[in-house]
Symmetry: C2
Subunit: 459 residues, 2 copies
């Protein structure tokens, strides 16, 4: 039986005998008694096991160290101690796997930095156990949201030759022996000898392929790993992370914002409901006010405002900015913070200067801005970025030339505009950024099971 | 409104006006009438649009080519034609995106080979529309199966330095300029200059990392892309594919088979229910008897038999084998076929010779076989492969040395045995192999949106 099931059925199981399998999280030994804090990882709460010296194996059990794997059989009895409704009176304990006394995960507060060094053990701690369960539940929330609404989950390829975000930001993949590379006559690497016959990359986005499927299914979403080669050691950058990229045909920028808002509220409500213990834990130990922040989001109406209007507000503010707000420029972290505080809630910022945005975004009639939208959320900054896509073939080709995109690798993508193209929109949401928002944890390394950052590819 | 919704609510929508957005799949023009076969991709069935010369735009509409994107408003009326319950009497049609007459996807039978060359357009055909919708629904079935049972969905890293399947089978990833590689004193590539400071790969499995999480959560599953460098041009090999890898603590080989059997039946039932139109289509046009095959699987009891017993049966069979069955060897495709026909259903084959199986599998007491299990399914061969894992640290180290695994990259994995290790098991299921089984399609290139095979990395 799982601990989760035991908690769910605790009333009907009272006085019954149960068998559990899991790990010793803490062990307090007294002369005639012992108390084991037990968890099998299926539930945030632990179970207290009580044993006494009437057991033949009393002395043996007292030797079991924290971290050991055990099978325990015992009776569910009302708890006399505080903080729990029931406990298990041990009948037998079988040691499944021992654990040495110098086991790194002890029942005390470890720093997140220390635990990153123990990535393969850290999900055994309360904090990381909660984080990665929320990660799993949040992933399911996303799938349910889209599947219930008829979106087709599309597995876009990770290995690609298409240049969407710029190939200098992508990892090269190869089967060639780097110490013995085949060369062409002019002493360049002969990529025709590689498995795909040309230089391939692992991708930073599934958007281009997603658009092709949106032109077939109307509504699709991707959810998979993406990669960036950025050599940044910040709290919000990782070289491998997961992205959700929905793409919707016959959808304009207003329609896109409706979807983003509905989806985010759905996810937050889902996690509040399914992970209430974890959220309460984060609220208490990670980010005070987290639960209230999340509940408030669900009930708020998101503001919609243009980039130009945002700059107006920033310029009028009686603040000495580190970066002066500019109608032609991106906004800085300090501006994001001000704007979400100004409106006291999530803000969609639309119609950005074209030169700071991607080549595939729809050019507005002013010829200066594109139909892009970023969602700024209090306390987390930009959570999603999307746009209406340029559906006009000629305008798209002009942008491709202006932005030096490798035309040959995206010709099929452009052709989508020739063969029954239509107005359409999509957005991307970084899964880890969402998790940072949901858990209050502030470092991306702590919401990824085995994070990859510059210089770090252990485990 | 989506076409799916229209079909679901057709009775209450009769005589009502609706607006649909999608694409022209076929267009039959008569002097006073026109008939458009319309689809928006949300449902396998199309909708017939009828328009007549009473419309001002009659002549304009008659010019619209197959493939064009349109917005149509019209009245839902009972159909006079056969094969459908209702049709739409057109009031207005707006052309959203035109399509030239030489559009590659015409309403006729195209070969799968031709359509592979049009990977970005092929989901618009009935066949591929059905395949990739089944892919999406099957993915959801898998998530629901595991989430309902408390498994934690674990995103194991794709970029890795751990040597599980052998690094010669993995793609190298690098940010270095291949035409200008940094060198060490002894003229080797200086991998310390790469982003991670060493040679990294994209992985062929999430199992090692999955085990670490199973030792924290008891039950976990992975579901993500995996990669192999195999230079094979067969119907069943691709260089990029998706895998599901559940890993369960306190689970032995019998328990593992219970899970595999229950999961497969759950998935097949789910797809039969949610994709009945698609399955009927495959049954009619792709693989006769498909539906019966799937229904039979759901109601069958899977056989459990050892590798040794299988070889006994094969040797006793009155058949001239191409490959002679051998107690020390793997079984060939012809043997798999014979065994599933012999038992007339799915067969678990257990306890394989250790030398043909992976290093992390549990050595049986006979010291000759390992506690591995392959599931063989009629008409598809091996669908899943799993094993109880070696939980004994010393035995594992012996195998690592025997099999020349790079010890240093998997030391953390081995340490799991020291820190409260326990008996545990897991399996891997190739997602595309499952889809081949579910759809009857026989080439892996046709169940992957944008397949990657040697020499093929277009789109």
């Amino acid at each position: 039986m799982d601990v989760k099931e035991l908690y769910q059925k605790q009333e009907q199981l009272l006085n019954e005998e149960v068998t559990l399998q899991g790990w010793i999280k803490n062990h307090r030994k007294q002369k005639e008694y012992g108390f084991i804090d037990f968890s099998d990882g299926t539930y945030f709460k632990h179970v207290q096991l009580v044993y006494d010296d009437q057991l033949q194996s009393f002395e043996e059990i007292q030797k079991y160290h924290i971290g050991s794997a055990i099978t325990v059989t015992g009776q569910v009895i009302p708890s006399i101690g505080k903080g729990q409704d029931f406990e298990i009176k041990v009948k037998t304990i079988k040691l499944e796997g021992s654990c040495p006394e110098d086991y790194p995960i002890q029942p005390k507060r470890h720093s997140n930095e220390f635990l990153r060094e123990q990535a393969y053990l850290r999900p055994r701690t309360n904090l990381f156990n909660a984080i990665f369960r929320v990660r799993s539940v949040t992933a399911m929330a996303i799938h349910e949201y889209f599947q219930e609404r008829g979106y087709v989950y599309t597995h876009t390829p990770l290995i690609t030759t298409a240049d969407c975000e710029g190939s200098d930001q992508m990892f090269k993949v190869t089967t060639l022996d780097l110490n013995n590379l085949p060369k062409t006559k002019d002493n360049k690497v002969d990529m025709t000898k590689d498995l795909f016959g040309k230089q391939a990359y692992i991708t930073g986005t599934g958007q281009l392929h997603g658009e092709a499927f949106a032109m077939s299914y109307k509504k699709i979403y991707t959810f998979g790993p993406t990669f960036r080669t950025e050599n940044s050691n910040t709290k919000v950058h990782a070289n491998e992370f997961w992205m959700i990229e929905p793409e919707i045909a016959f959808c304009d920028l207003e329609g896109l914002m409706d979807i983003e808002e509905e989806m985010l509220k759905y996810i937050v409500s889902y996690v509040l409901k399914k992970c209430s213990l974890e959220i309460e834990f984060f609220d208490k130990y990670v980010q005070k006010g987290l639960k209230e922040k999340l509940e408030k989001l669900v009930n708020s109406k998101f503001i919609r405002i243009t980039h130009h209007e945002v700059i107006d507000i920033l310029k009028k503010a009686n603040i000495k900015w580190e970066f002066e707000p500019d109608y032609e420029e991106d906004i800085a972290k300090e501006h994001e913070k001000y704007i979400t505080e100004y409106f006291n809630g999530p803000v969609f910022i639309t119609n950005w200067p074209k030169d700071i945005k991607a080549w595939y975004m729809k050019l507005n009639d002013d010829n200066k801005t594109v139909a892009a939208v970023d969602l700024e959320v209090p306390g987390a900054g930009e959570l999603m970025g999307g746009s209406q896509r340029e559906e006009d073939y000629d305008k798209l080709m002009t942008r491709i030339k202006e932005m030096n995109v490798d035309e040959e690798t995206v010709d099929w993508f452009c052709n989508l505009r020739k063969f029954g193209g239509c107005y359409h929109s999509g957005f991307g949401m970084g899964f880890e950024r969402l998790l940072i928002y949901l858990t209050g944890v502030d470092n991306i390394r702590d919401v990824i099971p085995f994070p990859r950052t510059p210089g770090n590819c252990d485990y």
